[in-house]
């Protein structure tokens, strides 16, 4: 692809801390290589801001290779920007043209309060995972890799659900701020496997209870979550979660 330099206008949400009101601020950025990643472009802007003695833009990032789930950013009305099945860190500036204006907002949901600028507190997801509890496994010598036979289709479906990186784009995109796709991915990836079967019922009941406690909305199957998920987690997992939850409710005394 041709390498060009572009100039852009960024409208970025600035918020000092969780309690302050926050507002959009406009920053022109010049000479941005189309080979840069979106986060590198913010890095360039932040260096300029630091050199000018201003407060750099706070944003979450870690691995920058699309597998950790740290980066967020709601870019021009879409979580993780315009590319399908992609994280913000893997979004490249070739997605934009010279002179474009890009509006960058944090995830918006009551359960994801803004910490600063584009950073939001996603610890609600951690507490949902914790509520899922433990998985019983045999200890002692390492079990042979193929000791538990698993059908290939099930293993693949489980792996596809386990690909969830917990970034929260599903919540950010959902009109109801529902975390069902996240919880469905986490429940599905164990529900499809023999491992963790002893805790199967309590796990789904506890995780859904924690999800509700965290104040996420209810799923109405609109499909916005699936469309923006960087790991392309299928919405069909939500239907599986619903079934797991109903069946568990008839079995477990919770």
């Amino acid at each position: 692809m041709e390498h060009t330099m572009i100039n852009l206008t960024l409208k970025i949400w600035r918020q000092k801390n969780a309690d302050s009101a926050g507002q959009f601020e406009t920053y022109p950025v010049k000479n941005i290589s189309t080979e840069m990643s979106f986060l590198e472009m913010i890095d360039v802007l932040n260096e300029d801001l630091i050199n000018e003695g201003k407060d750099p833009i706070a944003f979450d990032h870690d691995c920058r290779e699309g597998i950790c789930g740290a980066c967020s950013m709601y870019i021009n009305g879409r979580p993780h920007g315009p590319w399908h099945g992609n994280t913000t860190c893997q979004l490249h500036m070739r997605a934009y043209h010279d002179g474009d204006t890009i509006v960058i907002e944090p995830w918006r949901a009551n359960s994801f309060p803004v910490i600063k600028d584009l950073m939001v507190d996603r610890s609600a997801f951690d507490r949902i995972i914790q509520a899922g509890g433990y998985v019983s496994v045999n200890t002692g010598n390492a079990v042979d890799a193929n000791a538990t036979p698993i059908e290939k289709d099930l293993a693949d479906a489980s792996f596809a659900a386990a690909a969830c990186i917990g970034c929260g784009a599903c919540v950010a995109a959902c009109k109801n701020s529902s975390a069902m796709l996240f919880v469905a991915a986490k429940v599905s990836h164990l529900a499809l496997l023999p491992q963790g079967a002893p805790e199967r019922n309590t796990r789904v009941l506890d995780m859904v209870a924690q999800m509700d406690k965290e104040g996420f909305g209810s799923c109405t199957n609109t499909g916005a979550c699936e469309a923006v998920c960087p790991k392309e987690i299928s919405i069909n997992n939500i239907a599986r979660l619903n079934r797991e939850y109903m069946l568990a409710g008839t079995k477990a005394d919770k």
Partner: protein, 214 residues
């Protein structure tokens, strides 16, 4: 929502089926017979109570869900996500349902209240066996002479169509059908069902207004 929704989906088939009797084009004999059966059979009348419970539960739950979900994002986005990944009708079930609720008020006032409580105006119809029944067919004919009522009914049927296209497949997801093949099939059945039911209902006032049935 899903259970009451599926219950109401099954009711619509019965409702559309009975109303389709108008197309026998026999001056309303078959339709009035069917309407009389529905109105005079004890089991059906008991089921009618269940139907209204189902409708109101669906409405109350629907509004509770809508308002709860709306409260989960106090600070919204400057650039809305709109159609990036979801359909407008999937996101507008509350609005479509409200249109239907307003329509029901008109619809019940037009037909259900007269047939159950205040009485159907005009002389009763005498069937071949000598039985006298309410002439609900005549009431339909007179009601659907007003163009604005016909247009209101057609608008409601369009809303119903979109409501069902989302509601049908969503209900099955909610009750736990996760098989990708079945879900695809149910989605298509839902679209077919929504179009056929809505078209059938929309054709009824239209048939009366345009004089296709006498």
């Amino acid at each position: 929502m899903a259970l009451t929704g599926l219950f109401l989906i099954s009711f619509l088939i019965v409702h559309a089926g009975i109303n389709a009797c108008i197309w026998a084009n026999d001056g309303g004999v078959m339709f009035n017979k069917a309407a009389h059966f529905m109105g005079s059979t004890v089991v059906i009348r008991i089921m009618e109570v269940g139907l209204f419970l189902g409708i109101f539960l669906h409405i109350i739950q629907g509004y509770m869900l809508e308002f709860q979900n709306r409260s989960k994002r106090k600070k919204g986005y400057a650039v809305p996500i709109r159609n990036k990944g979801s359909k407008w009708y999937s996101r507008s079930m509350g609005l479509l349902g409200t249109i239907l609720l307003l329509f029901f008020i008109i619809h019940w006032k037009n037909f259900w209240v007269p047939s159950r409580f205040t009485g159907v105006p005009g002389p009763e119809m005498e069937l071949a066996n000598g039985q006298h029944v309410h002439n609900l067919y005549a009431l339909m004919q007179s009601t659907f002479q007003e163009l604005w009522i016909v247009l209101v009914y057609i608008f409601a049927c369009i809303s119903l169509c979109w409501h069902l296209i989302h509601g049908f497949q969503s209900a099955f997801r909610t009750v736990g059908v996760s098989n990708a093949r079945y879900l695809k099939m149910l989605k298509n059945i839902g679209i077919g069902y929504a179009i056929i039911i809505s078209l059938a209902f929309a054709m009824m006032p239209l048939s009366m207004y345009l004089g296709w049935v006498k």
